[in-house]
């Protein structure tokens, strides 16, 4: 589990994406956020996550969100590979 730094952004990966990336959770520190708005799309690129962003779904604070939604300190961001429930 990442550090409980409420000011940063908690990033979570699941299932196949977690396995491909080799990690489940990271904390993006707050000081990297001061300059400009940060979006899930930018983080996806910066973190060099595997595959295409449009093959995954983005959730911010456990709600589906668009990949260009501005992130705020304290947000929980998740990249969700294709769902296969039920």
């Amino acid at each position: 589990m990442g550090e409980p730094s409420a000011a940063g952004i908690r990033i979570r990966l699941f299932a196949g994406l977690q396995e491909q990336a080799g990690w489940a959770e990271r904390q993006w520190t707050a000081d990297a956020l001061v300059e400009a708005t940060l979006t899930p799309r930018q983080l996806w690129q910066t973190l060099q996550l595997p595959g295409e962003l449009n093959s995954v779904r983005v959730a911010i604070n456990q709600q589906f969100a668009a990949a260009d939604t501005p992130l705020l300190p304290g947000d929980e961001l998740a990249f969700l590979p294709p769902i296969s429930g039920g």
């Binding site: 979570r12 429930g85 039920g86």
Partner: protein, 168 residues
């Protein structure tokens, strides 16, 4: 009985809707859950009598993996917190659209063996059309919009994440 090992349970009664959603870490018996649910509905007052129409769906793990080889087990990962929230939102929305009276959703997580139940959806309504349509629609919604991921474990010890659902 291991089906009593509810992880979390959400019971709502918004606008007359009787709603119960559970994630199970261990095997659950769909018919036992249904029976308990009907008893609970009956106990909640004479106005919420047994529905005239009840549509139920039970999904179980197949004996074979997607590639046809024997399946050892299915691993069901979820997103704790978001999965429960999404199930709640999907169920509430679907039930409101169809105007049904009761909704039970039971879903497995963790390691599920062939033959074991993965999902149970039971919708009670005054007419068969809304009950059936709501049951189908909610099943599709939770298959596509609730964060669950399946990994197939084969007999040879290899595992593979599924990237889509079985076709309708």
């Amino acid at each position: 009985m291991s089906w009593l090992s509810y992880l979390r349970s959400a019971v709502a009664d918004a606008e007359g809707l009787q709603l119960k959603i559970d994630l199970h870490l261990e095997a659950f018996e769909p018919l036992a859950c249904l029976e308990q649910w009907q008893r609970q509905l009956a106990a909640s007052g004479p106005s919420t009598n047994a529905s005239a129409a009840e549509s139920v769906f039970i999904g179980r793990v197949r004996a074979a993996a997607a590639d046809g080889t024997p399946l050892l087990a299915l691993e069901l990962e979820h997103y704790p917190g978001m999965t429960e929230r999404q199930l709640q939102q999907l169920a509430t929305g679907c039930c409101a659209r169809h105007g049904v009276g009761s909704c039970l959703v039971q879903h497995r997580i963790g390691r599920v063996l062939p033959g074991e139940a993965i999902v149970l959806v039971a919708i009670g309504a005054d007419r068969r059309g809304p009950a059936q349509r709501c049951c189908q629609e909610l099943l599709e919604a939770l298959k596509h919009d609730a964060p669950f991921w399946k990994r197939e474990w084969r007999r040879d010890g290899t595992g593979e994440w599924l990237t889509s659902n079985t076709p309708l």
